[in-house]
Structures are given as structure tokens and as C-alpha cells.
Amino acid sequence: MTSLPTSTQRKLGLVIDLDTCVGCHACVISCKGWNTENYGAPLSDQRPYGADPSGTFLNRVHSYEVQPESAPAQLVHFPKSCLHCEDAPCVTVCPTGASYKRVEDGIVLVNEADCIGCGLCAWACPYGAREMDAAEGVMKKCTLCVDRIYNENLPEEDRVPACVRTCPAGARHFGDFADPDSHVGQLTAARGGFDLMPEQGTKPVNKYLPPRPRDTLGQTNGLAPFLDPVAQESKGFVAWLDRALAAL
């Protein structure tokens, strides 16, 4: 149903830590693997061994360079998947009701049996979170691994999205944003988690943690002062050694 629920019981989503993401693409492929084998149609690949290979992915890692005014340029790896927005424009534009936001947990899903493949939801999404599968002709998107997070066939510790389970750098966190005491809620509060394109009014559930300040060593910031010599040449240094050993 394409009306958005007025509220959801929980707000499940991800925290993505831009301070920590090393850009390894582990989440990208883990997602591809899980969602090819599971929920809905497989994520297909066109020309997989030819010119212009092009497949469906639900999560991709961009990278940006940021040039501060007076410091070296920084590189930021930037994973991006569906943000499971509270005011998800992709849901309301859907003419068939295939796109919906779950009232239990706020996960935005596509019911593939109802999807006519018009692509309008992808037009409405500012984040590029939805991709039409070229083989199946239906819209694919991040399911927040809805078939993992409640799955009683998985050990409890594995009931997290595949991307979170696999992330080697600990840059992805999963939880309930409706609960301010949750891990994700606290991380967001402590580290200044922010929304992507807040002006679009989508109210994303997923939050991004900014990179911590970089390149502070060697600037006047109260860290250790430069070292003072105990000797300028080896004779004096050897004498210092004797004193140092004697003091032990």
C-alpha cells in the first residue's frame, strides 16, 4: 500500500561510519550474494564477461575527495543503499502498491509480484537506492535483509543485514532508531550522525557519521611538544645512557 504508515513501531536502519569505512566493497558483494540467492528475483548481471558488464546492486560504495581550505585533501569512502526514509517518496509515487513501508519496523520494500517496472519510485528517490533489474523487469532495493533479521533459521547473532555482518572495518551498524538508547541511537547522538540531503524532506532513517578531524598532528593543538635533545653528539649521548641505566 503506497500510503505511508503514520508511524512505525520501530525504525530499523543503519549507521554508516564515514570515519572508519576503508572502501573495501565487502558490504557490496555480501549484499549481492545474499540478495541474489534470497528475497525475490536474483540480482542479475548483463554482459557479465563482456564489454560493459552491468548488474543490479543494492548497495554501492562511492568515494569522494574533500579539499579543506588549508590542509591536505581527504578521501572519504561512501557506502550508499536505501535509507528507509520516514517520508519515503518512492512509496507514495508507486501506482500499484508494490512499494510499501512496513508498519512494524519501517523497512521499505518492493512486493515484486505487484511491481510493473515503471521506474517511478527510482525517479522519486534522491539517493539512487533503487535499481530496476534488467532481467526481471522489477525494481530491486535494499530490504535491510528482512529475511535475515527475523530469521529463526539463523543463529541470533547472525540476524543482522548481510552487509553489517560482513563489514570488516566495523563501519556499519544496525538497529532501531526509535529507541534512543539503542546502539545506533547512541552512536548517532555521540558522533553527530547526519541525514543525506535533508532538504529533500525524506527524513532518512539511516544516519551517516562524519569523519573525525584529520591531520591535526604538527598543528598547534596541545599535543606533545617537539622533543628536547639530551645530547647533540654520541659522546654526550653515551654519558646520558650511563645515567639512564643507573636510574633504572
Partner: protein
């Protein structure tokens, strides 16, 4: 946005078809018999043909009926309803004209309103997209409606109306272009808000996530060269507006009108191609294509 031929043809032709039906419904012309049949056939070929074309870009056209279900929220669903309603009502109204020479005015007025509604809902599909700042303006439905009515008048042989409406549409078109060229910049969405990295410095897209293409790059990232776009705008404007207006002033009204219609359609197709091709979807920011 990717200028998909199906959508360009759909919006152009169905707009014209519905425009013609508006004037028929309003009774500005009340042909009967074969003449009515011809007018309605042209109108339906354009409107239905356009709708059919739009179905081609669906991944699952066989499920198209499901698109009627979400009229509460979805402009596409509303468009489906209004188009079908308009076509049905106008078919009954047209049958009256063709078979019985009867003018059921209230039905015609209702049909005309539904036709305008259909064009309006089509335009709202685009206008509602906050993701495409170039589209998100009242000028979009105004332009669509003006073109539908102006083109419809042209088809209906309503020279006077056409000579009023086409210049109005032309002005709207210019306004739409001028506004559109700075829409993204004024929208407040840029790479800094897209990435949230603006506090650190100036962000710049480095490596794309994948070296190849994907659905998003194909669908949303279409970059038209500035000079190419200006040339196409000139052609669209000349063919879609200027030439038809000039032609309508010529003698030999039938030939001129036919040429005017053809010129108009060609011009509006070009304008519609630009409508999509120049539209900057904000997702392009993530791919470094909007600077």
C-alpha cells in the same frame, strides 16, 4: 534523465490527443458523422497511441491494471484513472456525434474536464519530483496544459484559439527553460548536502562505485552538451511555436494547418526530448555528473 522515446512520444501525442478532445467536448466544434469520426479517430490514435507507448517502458506491462489501485497517493495511478475515464466519457460523447448527430453538452464538458485532468496528472508525475528541480514548478503543468490546449486547437482547426494559446505556451516554454537552467543550483541540493561532507571542505566525486554503467547511470545521468541543447531549443522553439503561428497566417488554410500541425509535433517532440535529457536528477550528484 534518459530521454526514453516511449515517454517522449507518450507525453507529446497523448497531450495533443487530449487537447483535441477538450475542444471537441467543449463543443467549440461539433462535427457529426464521418467528420466527427475522423476527428475522434485522430484524437484517440494520439491519446491511446501515446498511452500504449508509455506501456512499452514498463518492465511488466501485463500487470498494468494494478496501476489503478493507488489513486490516493500516486499521480501515475490518478493519470491512469483520468485517462481511462476521459476516453470512456469522450467515446460516449463522440458516439453521440458520430451516430446520432447529438450534442450531449454536459457529457462533453465532463469529458473535457477529464481530458484536462489527464494532461494535468501526466504533468504532475514530473512536477512532483523533488529529485528533479527543473521539473518541480507550477510552470510544468502550465506548459503541459497550454501545449495540450494549443496543439489541440491547432488540430481542431481553431486558428484563433491556436494563435492565442500557442504564444502563451511559447512564453511558458521560455519561462520554463530560463527557470530550469538555474533550478538545480537554487534547489539547495548539491554534493555537499548529498554527502554531508561540506563542513570539511569542497567535496568532489573521486572514483565511481563501479567502473561500468548501471541502471542509475543509464536512467538518470544524461548529460547534454550546452551548445547542443541551445541548438535543440532553437529548433524546438522554431518548429513547435514560431513556424505554426506563421503558417496559420498564410493562405491555403488546410495545407498550412497540416504543415503547422506537423511542425508543431516535431517541435514539441524536440522540446520533450530536452525536457528529459536536460533534467538533472539529483542522484547524478553522487556520480559527480552535476558540476
Amino acid at each position: 534523465m534518459h530521454p526514453a522515446p516511449s515517454v517522449i512520444i507518450f507525453t507529446t501525442l497523448s497531450g495533443l490527443g487530449f487537447g483535441l478532445l477538450v475542444w471537441l467536448g467543449l463543443g467549440l466544434l461539433t462535427p457529426t458523422g464521418w467528420v466527427a469520426f475522423t476527428f475522434f479517430t485522430i484524437a484517440y490514435l494520439l491519446a491511446v497511441g501515446g498511452l500504449m507507448a508509455s506501456a512499452f517502458h514498463l518492465g511488466h506491462p501485463e500487470r498494468a491494471l494494478k496501476a489503478f489501485s493507488q489513486w490516493r497517493t500516486s499521480w501515475l495511478s490518478r493519470e491512469a484513472w483520468l485517462s481511462v475515464a476521459a476516453l470512456i466519457v469522450m467515446a460516449i460523447y463522440g458516439a453521440g456525434l458520430v451516430f446520432w448527430g447529438a450534442v450531449w453538452t454536459p457529457l462533453g464538458w465532463l469529458g473535457a474536464a477529464l481530458c484536462l485532468g489527464a494532461v494535468l496528472t501526466t504533468s504532475m508525475i514530473y512536477t512532483q519530483m523533488r529529485t528533479v528541480p527543473r521539473w518541480r514548478t507550477w510552470l510544468t503543468p502550465a506548459l503541459f496544459l497550454a501545449l495540450s490546449l494549443g496543439g489541440g486547437a491547432l488540430l481542431a482547426g481553431q486558428t484563433t484559439l491556436a494563435l492565442i494559446l500557442l504564444p502563451v505556451a511559447a512564453i511558458l516554454q521560455i519561462a520554463w527553460w530560463v527557470r530550469g537552467d538555474s533550478a538545480l543550483a537554487r534547489s539547495g541540493t548539491d554534493l555537499a548536502t548529498a554527502t554531508g561532507l561540506g563542513d570539511i571542505g569542497t567535496p568532489r566525486a573521486f572514483e565511481p562505485p563501479h567502473t561500468g554503467t548501471n541502471y542509475l547511470t543509464r536512467e538518470f545521468i544524461h548529460v547534454v552538451g550546452r551548445r547542443h541543447a541551445q541548438k535543440l531549443r532553437a529548433i524546438a522553439f522554431a518548429l513547435g511555436y514560431v513556424l505554426p503561428i506563421l503558417l496559420l497566417g498564410l493562405p491555403l488554410p488546410h495545407v498550412a494547418a497540416a504543415l503547422a500541425v506537423l511542425s508543431h509535433i516535431a517541435g514539441i517532440l524536440a522540446s520533450r526530448w530536452l525536457f528529459f535529457a536536460e533534467a538533472e536528477h539529483v542522484v547524478g550528484l553522487y556520480y559527480g555528473k552535476r558540476t
